[in-house]
Each structure stands twice: as structure tokens, then as C-alpha cells.
């Protein structure tokens, strides 16, 4: 196997606060899928056959066999799969040849899981969206402290956060600063 040892932002990070837990989810790969013009129906059908659920509506994510899929734009989706395959994009390119174009995304994003009954008290000083009123299954890209962030609501008080890898150290620092001011 390769001599090159991978390391990803937030490796092994986990912290407990009074009413808030943060941890680093791992063991998955992410790829983006862009649907070829005129191939939406075909792609939607083969997607459902492969992953057992339909493509998500705008502003939502769907649970899949072995992962999730998030709507990220017109004819564009993120696919998250719990697999040990850093060539997921090539696997998908084969599976959906002619229907959609795949690009590996895993390394571009640093992931955090946040949960707890005070999660909204913290996030309201971080993300401009009305997260309290969103249903589980909400998913969107927005900003947090001038940085980009993807927010997935996974439970009433639980969220997946993805932020660009290169600025992830600053993102975590800012997030902990806000937590320090509240909890």
C-alpha cells in the first residue's frame, strides 16, 4: 500500500462543553456529481437504483444506503459514502458514464459534528440561517465569520458542518471563541 500517510484537518478532534459536543466524523469520501444536459431522468433513475433513495430537493439532503446526498446547485449534488476509496470519483464516473460527471471533494472540506441542547445558542452567533426552524434533512451552503460552510441538519439538535480545508484551523478557532463567550 502507499507509503504516503494521509492527514486531514480536525483528525481526532473532540470536545465536550456544558450542553454542546463537537467531534470529527471520518471514514467517508465525498464526490460531486454534475448531471449532463438532458440526462436528468436517466441519471435520477440509475441513482435511485444504486443508492435506494431519490435525489434531494433544493435545500435538503437525503439518507442513502451507506451515506448521504446533498443538493448543492442546479443539477449538482454532493454524494457522501462511508467507503475507503480515494478514487470514488473514478468509480462514479464509470457507474454514471454519460449521465453525470464526478469530481472528488473529500480533501477540499473539513468536517465537524456538533450537537447538544445549546447548539442553536452557539450557531446563532455563527451562521445567519434560521436553523431552529429547519426540519431534519435541511442542507445548505452559507457563510460563517466570512468563511464558507455547508450545514446539514441531522437531528433536532445536531448538525454536520463542512468548511474549506485550507481555512479550517481559523474556522475552528473562531467557533471555539464563540463557544467560550457563551458556555
Amino acid at each position: 500500500m502507499s507509503k504516503l500517510k494521509p492527514n486531514t484537518p480536525f483528525d481526532g478532534y473532540a470536545r465536550e462543553f456544558d450542553g454542546l459536543n463537537i467531534s470529527h466524523p471520518s471514514g467517508f469520501e465525498i464526490a460531486s456529481l454534475a448531471v449532463a444536459n438532458g440526462e436528468y431522468k436517466a441519471f435520477a433513475k440509475s441513482f435511485k437504483k444504486t443508492y435506494g433513495n431519490t435525489l434531494p430537493e433544493p435545500g435538503t439532503w437525503n439518507e442513502l444506503k451507506n451515506g448521504k446526498t446533498l443538493w448543492t446547485g442546479q443539477n449538482q449534488y454532493f454524494l457522501l459514502q462511508y467507503v475507503e476509496d480515494d478514487r470514488l470519483d473514478e468509480t462514479l464516473a464509470g457507474k454514471f458514464d454519460g449521465e453525470a460527471y464526478a469530481t472528488l471533494q473529500t480533501d477540499g472540506w473539513a468536517a465537524l459534528d456538533v450537537s447538544g441542547e445549546r447548539v442553536h445558542e452557539v450557531l446563532e452567533r455563527f451562521v445567519p440561517l434560521d436553523l431552529r426552524s429547519k426540519e431534519v434533512g435541511f442542507g445548505a451552503r452559507t457563510t460563517a465569520h466570512h468563511m464558507s460552510v455547508i450545514v446539514l441538519k441531522t437531528d433536532n439538535d445536531a448538525y454536520h458542518l463542512f468548511t474549506p480545508a485550507s481555512s479550517s484551523a481559523g474556522f475552528l478557532d473562531a467557533f471555539e471563541h464563540v463557544i467560550g463567550n457563551i458556555l
Binding site: 446547485g73 445567519p128 451552503r141 457563510t143 464558507s148
Partner: protein, 87 residues
């Protein structure tokens, strides 16, 4: 300001980047003889109305879509938001 994205609802305009008049979508024919004059008017002249204005916004921090927003430049009231590219 708030832009009500046609696909997933209201978002703070701070997530968008403004380009200008929606007339920028009507790129002239480069093969016309008076192409330089047409491209000059297309790129440089603006109605710049004090009232209703169809304009282009890019949802940079969101879904990376281009939107045509119909907004009153005096009151800032937004009456319509459409996707630039009907998918």
C-alpha cells in the same frame, strides 16, 4: 437586503455578488459589421433607472447560481427573483 432564492427561499444579500444590469445577458453578435459599436453600447451604456431595475446577482456563498432580481433602485423593494438559466 434579502433575496428570496427561487429554489430554496430567502437569503441575506451578503451571500451574493452583484454584477449589474440584466441586459448583460444579451451579448451582441460578434459577426455583425457594426460589432464594435454594438459591443460598446452593450458593455458601457446603462439605463441606470431610478425605479424598477432587472439586475444580475451571483449566489457566491450559496448554490453558485446566477439570479435575475427585479428591484426598485429607490425603495430597494424586490418584486421578482428568477434563475438566469432555466434548468
Amino acid at each position: 437586503m434579502i433575496i428570496n432564492h427561487p429554489l430554496f427561499g430567502p437569503r441575506d444579500a451578503a451571500e451574493f455578488v452583484y454584477l449589474g444590469d440584466a441586459s448583460l445577458m444579451n451579448r451582441p453578435d460578434p459577426k455583425a459589421e457594426d460589432a464594435i459599436q454594438q459591443f460598446y453600447e452593450y458593455m458601457y451604456l446603462r439605463d441606470n433607472p431610478a425605479g424598477e431595475h432587472r439586475e444580475l446577482w451571483f449566489h457566491e456563498q450559496g448554490d453558485r447560481s446566477w439570479l435575475i432580481v427585479t428591484r426598485n433602485t429607490f425603495t430597494h423593494e424586490i418584486t421578482k427573483v428568477e434563475l438566469a438559466r432555466q434548468s
